[in-house]
């Protein structure tokens, strides 16, 4: 029951609530922004309870950043001075605001719980890496770190309890592009200034630029690279291994992994990677240490599967970017290594069960369409699902990346465990769908049907040669199967080619011309955020 005092205040101040404004034609979620910059004049008024919840979450994230600086003041300051990408992390607060615009009640609570899990983990990781970066003076753990490609799930490395696997590209390239759309064009330009082609995947180009510009932290004694079967990805792996200059083992997992014959190959590849690390780091693989972390990952995946059951209904308090970003980080980067995420999952599923039992409809019941988001999303427009919800009432039920490896890992028998790990790793970020063969791309229709979606938003990375080849086939199938289908053109990490505004216009055109619908919030239909982080 609502407190009568806060209910009274909410009534008095409701004219400042942008959701109320959009319903009454007096403004909306975009009204409080300065033009182009994406900087808000003031924060969103969400009613007393939700504003205080948002404020408390802001304080918690601020505290995590304070702890990061306090735990390694000199390395963090040196890092900000040394690395261009470190400066971009200062945009984190604005980033979180963008992600959860228009969120209220349990949706907001879960979103902040998930986001804080990421912030507390990422801040610790930044402090750890900078404190041990040879470029900044090194530290006691410099030689115990294992830089590895970020699309390689690090769970199997937990069998080396004295070593710390660090996804090398995550800090300077991937996560930071979510926060600041202006950063990666700089690194892309660096790569292209050496004569590299400008029509390749911008993610690979940006990673290459980071390497050429000498902006990777210097850690570890040997590295693990991996394979992705596209020209740009192969190229960036080679450029990085040459520039980083450490002994390297390419963990080339099977790409077309639906065929049974592929698994023994990937299993042997993991064994060879383990042998390489044992040799280079002088450590013995400890299966019990692996089993301990695999149990955490198994529990997270068990909870994830229960979440999926709730996603299939219209009573899920978790959806959109609060789901996508968390799953992406907790799977690809944490991958069972941190207990915090298991504890967080336990709390979140409890709230989700409660909301389901109460038949709570998220976003005030304003959802009109349930969409499956397929294909690699634009990293520079992370809050796109928030926009689709707020502007057109399109809720992103699940994202392709969230369907990554969810098979359980055996926690008793090393022989079975390594086989399970191989299958788990084959279904890594992008590896499974975008480059894992036609059947995995085409699985979108089964996923969308099973999650009761009426719409598929197909991310169209214009520089991805592989996915460009399936355009017409996807459109034909959408028509045959009766799904609303929108191609969202983007250039993954380069906001100059296709801006956020252009991406929004893909949806605007379809919703207004094809479906003839009116926006929920007219202030969100067309605006300029070209100078925003």
């Amino acid at each position: 029951m609502k407190n009568p005092i806060t209910a009274f205040i909410d009534r008095k101040l409701q004219k400042f609530d942008p959701l109320w404004q959009s319903e009454h034609g007096t403004g909306g979620l975009r009204s409080r922004y300065y033009d182009k910059t994406g900087i808000a004049k003031y924060r969103e008024w969400r009613g007393v309870h939700d504003t205080m919840l948002d404020y408390a979450s802001w304080l918690k994230n601020l505290a995590s950043m304070g702890v990061m600086v306090a735990s390694a003041p000199l390395p963090v300051l040196k890092g900000i001075w040394e690395y261009r990408w470190m400066g971009s992390y200062l945009g984190t607060f604005a980033f979180i605001d963008r992600l959860f615009e228009g969120y209220r009640g349990p949706e907001l609570k879960i979103a902040h719980m998930n986001m804080h899990a990421i912030v507390q983990s990422l801040t610790k990781k930044i402090a750890l890496v900078l404190s041990n970066d040879r470029r900044l003076g090194g530290g006691p753990l410099t030689d115990n770190m294992v830089p590895m490609d970020e699309v390689l799930p690090p769970l199997f490395m937990c069998g080396f309890p004295n070593l710390i696997p660090i996804p090398l590209q995550t800090l300077p390239e991937f996560i930071i592009c979510d926060i600041d759309q202006q950063l990666q064009p700089f690194y892309i330009d660096v790569a292209e200034s050496f004569g590299l082609a400008a029509d390749v995947c911008s993610r690979c180009s940006a990673e290459t630029g980071v390497a050429f510009n000498d902006d990777f932290p210097l850690i570890g004694r040997a590295m693990l690279s991996t394979n992705m079967p596209c020209n740009a990805s192969e190229a960036t792996s080679m450029f990085q291994r040459r520039r980083v200059g450490l002994p390297d083992f390419p963990v080339t997992l099977a790409m077309i992994h639906n065929e049974p014959g592929a698994h023994p190959y990937s299993t042997q590849m993991l064994r060879d990677a383990i042998a390489f690390i044992e040799k280079e780091y002088g450590e013995k693989y400890d299966w019990d240490a692996l089993f301990a972390r695999a149990k955490q990952m198994n529990e997270q995946n068990t909870i994830e599967l229960e979440k999926w059951d709730i996603f299939k209904t219209k009573y899920s308090a978790l959806s959109g970017i609060a789901e996508t970003l968390y799953r992406l980080y907790s799977w690809a980067s944490v991958n069972g290594q941190e207990d915090y995420f298991t504890k967080n999952d336990r709390k979140v599923i409890k709230i989700m069960r409660r909301c389901y039992e109460k038949r709570h409809e998220p976003f005030g019941g304003r959802t009109r369409h349930r969409a499956f988001l397929w294909g690699p999303s634009a990293v520079y427009y992370t809050d796109f699902p928030t926009w689709t919800q707020n502007c057109w009432g399109i809720t992103i039920v699940l994202n392709m990346d969230s369907t990554m490896g969810h098979n359980m890992i055996d926690t008793e028998d090393p022989e079975q465990a390594i086989k399970d790990l191989a299958e788990f790793s084959e279904k890594g970020v992008m590896r499974h769908h975008a480059v894992g063969g036609w059947d995995n791309v085409n699985a979108v229709w089964d996923w969308a049907k099973s999650f009761n979606c009426d719409m598929v938003l197909m991310n169209d990375n214009v520089a991805c040669k592989g996915m460009n080849g399936v355009h017409a086939m996807m459109e034909e199938q959408a028509r045959d199967l009766g799904f609303h289908f929108i191609f969202i053109e983007h250039d993954l990490e380069d906001c100059r080619t296709i801006s956020r505004r252009d991406m929004r216009n893909n949806v605007n055109s379809y919703m207004s011309v094809v479906l003839g619908e009116e926006p929920l919030d007219p202030t969100l239909v067309d605006f300029d955020d070209s100078e925003a982080w």
């Binding site: 900087i39 304080l59 510009n213």
Partner: protein, 74 residues
């Protein structure tokens, strides 16, 4: 009778533990209220983001643009 010098202060009567605790709690509450007012003002008016966007990032970007990096392929 000896007069008290002006500079000598009378010993304050001993305060009861309850009063001491109430004083400390009062000061803590005052500090908490002040901290809340300051941080909530920063939060509500988005002051930290304005400072970063308009002051800190332009300053840092100038520094990054002036940096000499070891830019090469291998």
């Amino acid at each position: 009778m000896k007069k008290l010098c002006k500079c000598e202060k009378k010993a304050a009567p001993a305060r009861s533990p309850g009063k001491v605790a109430a004083g400390i709690l009062g000061k803590l509450a005052l500090f908490g209220l002040g901290a809340f007012l300051v941080t909530f003002t920063i939060y509500m008016f988005n002051l930290e983001n304005k400072l970063i966007y308009y002051v800190i990032r332009p300053f840092l970007n100038k520094h990054y643009d002036a940096q000499k990096r070891d830019r090469r392929i291998v």
